[in-house]
Subunit: 398 residues, 2 copies
């Protein structure tokens, strides 16, 4: 999709604001958080615009945050992949360079004979995690010319980035995923990965020595080896000047991977809208991410999800005053409270622009959008629709 | 798509009439020409049949006439392409043979030192264009065994067809697209195009000599080199006997490229329906093209577009009397009056047949069709639906 869209892209000054309310959709029905919420601003946009449903990957497929975001920006989420290690690193605000190899890591407890007693090292407190990663960073700054960057996550989790040339992500994970087994060796899966494998083996041995006396966290397991993906930038593909507004590191990281300028913003939805207002003149494409809806869904907290939607709706008064040529409100994926996790349910979407047209839908809910004039469309087509609705795409073929 | 449909095609005598109202759709809303038009015949067909929306290429993509028509006949418009030169040649009713190379040409003004002063030669009147192309045709009938066919278009525009074996369309355009520059050389882009390049260079030099004293039209620029595309014929693919009824040369040309019999017809919509009636027994598939809707859209003339739709609707009484097994009414692409150009908005479609089924839709409009029982489907599936609805497709797989 993105190649076709890219080949037709032309520049102009019209502005696009894409509001992604993470995990917005619920199991369609009358009492979803979105249906119960009081949302006058969203409803006006829905009534004046056109609505529908999107699938991030395909009906029935529950997407992770990586694929669901890639789809929204027009990249085929099956062709492009953001590996787990990279997503984790981005999620704790680590900077990644083009050749970096990232891995997720767990502190773990091993027995004197080397079997894993606890893959999570008794879920050590985050403060201990910070201490131990600082120790590892100090003791193992580099291996064989490859720089190491070791950063804490929450509890037993941390990330390791190997920075150097010619590294490969085609090595085996060391985490056997079960207690009672010995850690696996990070063997190369292809011959090009032999040097990387040696470096990671060396790292694992060094970790074991450094942490020897630090029981329960006397070892570390590595998985999700992934290199920073080579994804053409949004700006170069579509001729736009894109900026991202997001409170969570992972989404800022994805935006950076796709070549967006990531704007400094505060913690609240209102902070994010103020950031939009402050930077409105400088860019023509804004990716605006709201995390709270997904978190509330993951906690199964319908009431909090509803309130968050209402908070976004109230703050949208700012957006309506800015009056960008095209506003799109949608989600990356659904996170129904009943499931407490991402789901396969399609995402409600509304497109508001002078060229989008109008349908019969007056409220922005899962059920209303299912009757919308856009029908049910692949999320990968949303980027093209936004560009079309700001006249940033020329005709295909004669 | 077409290979699958083709592999399942079986013959029978049931008749299909596909009415393509060019550029029919507008930006969805209450006051589109289609929504405002009084269309009792279309509305009965919609009420007794099933409706929906189609995308010629993909949501958000505005198709040219080539891709949008290819899609309607089941050909992937990204796989198959009708080049610009070919479309232009078809548009002025030139016959194209399999090996022909076609180019769009402009008369232009050049200075004594060879810079282009005016790419359009002051938009010479069409009568001068006719004179000059006749002169060129007489003076340059062939080059190195390659026959030349030179035909006038409107004002400064004309077409050149190079007829011979082994020609390539992989040569550079000579039009620099800006005044003040020298024309470019038609250099070969691949080694197979070397001979073609020499012939075109020779042609350009001859044109310069012949037109030397004809200022402002003392030169010609060539672009859009394209060979007649190799597209399997509709009849061979689907086992149908296809005929085309169209008043405009370009659509007759596309029909010819796809192996349809092009029927002689008059200028008006009523003429076209009379042609249908007269030839109804001889064919089992009719591609029936109405141009006026697109022209009115391109002129931004909603009232004329509405009246044209009403004219088609009145003439459809003839069609209802003929009572073909399957009637489909749709468009190739939308041409909203507000945009005065092709657009990305999906096309309304209705399918009427004893097997198509019925939905809630009682009127044939953009908004009603968005709630139709067909949903939003790729235009490339319409051919299969027409064949299915006349029982011309067998089961896929056991």
């Amino acid at each position: 999709m993105y190649q076709l869209i890219s080949s037709l892209a032309i520049r102009n000054d019209s502005k696009i604001v894409l509001i992604v309310m993470d995990g917005l959709g619920d199991i369609p029905g009358e009492s979803t958080p979105l249906a119960l919420a009081h949302t006058p601003n969203l409803d006006i946009l829905a009534a004046q615009g056109i609505t529908g449903l999107t699938d991030s990957v395909s009906p029935g497929i529950t997407p992770g945050s990586g694929p669901s975001h890639l789809a929204l920006f027009g990249y085929d989420p099956i062709e492009f992949e953001i590996g787990r290690g990279v997503l984790e690193a981005l999620g704790i605000d680590m900077e990644l360079k083009e050749e970096d190899l990232a891995a997720r890591a767990n502190f773990a407890t091993i027995s004197p004979s080397g079997e894993i007693i606890d893959r999570r090292a008794g879920r050590i407190p985050t403060s201990t995690c910070i201490e131990l990663t600082q120790l590892l960073q100090k003791e193992i700054p580099s291996i064989d010319g490859v720089e190491l960057i070791i950063r804490p996550g929450k509890e037993h989790r941390f990330c390791v980035v190997f920075r150097g040339e010619g590294l490969s992500d085609r090595i085996a994970e060391t985490d056997p995923q079960k207690d009672g087994y010995k850690p696996k060796e990070p063997e190369p899966l292809v011959s090009e990965a032999e040097r990387t494998s040696k470096i990671v083996k060396n790292f694992v041995n060094s970790v074991r020595k450094v942490l020897k006396e630090k029981k329960p966290a006397n070892f570390a397991l590595l998985r999700g080896f992934a290199k920073s993906p080579q994804i053409p930038s949004l700006g170069s593909l579509y001729g736009i000047r894109p900026a991202a507004i997001a409170t969570y590191p992972m989404y800022r990281g994805i935006a950076k991977l796709l070549g967006m300028d990531v704007l400094k913003t505060g913690e609240s939805v209102m902070d994010e809208f103020e950031t939009l207002e402050r930077n409105f003149r400088e860019y023509d494409f804004f990716y605006f991410h709201v995390k709270g809806t997904d978190k509330a869904g993951e906690d199964g907290d319908c009431e909090r999800k509803k309130k968050l939607i209402e908070e976004v709706d109230r703050a949208m008064t700012t957006l309506r005053e800015l009056n960008p040529e095209c506003v799109v409100v949608t989600a990356d994926h659904s996170t129904p409270c009943k499931l407490k996790s991402h789901s396969w349910h399609p995402n409600p979407i509304l497109i508001h622009s002078p060229y989008a047209g109008v349908d019969d839908v007056k409220r922005f809910t899962e059920r209303d959008c299912a009757r919308g004039g856009l029908g049910r469309i692949p999320a990968t087509t949303v980027m093209g629709l936004m560009l079309a609705n700001t006249l940033k795409l020329k005709k295909f073929g004669a």
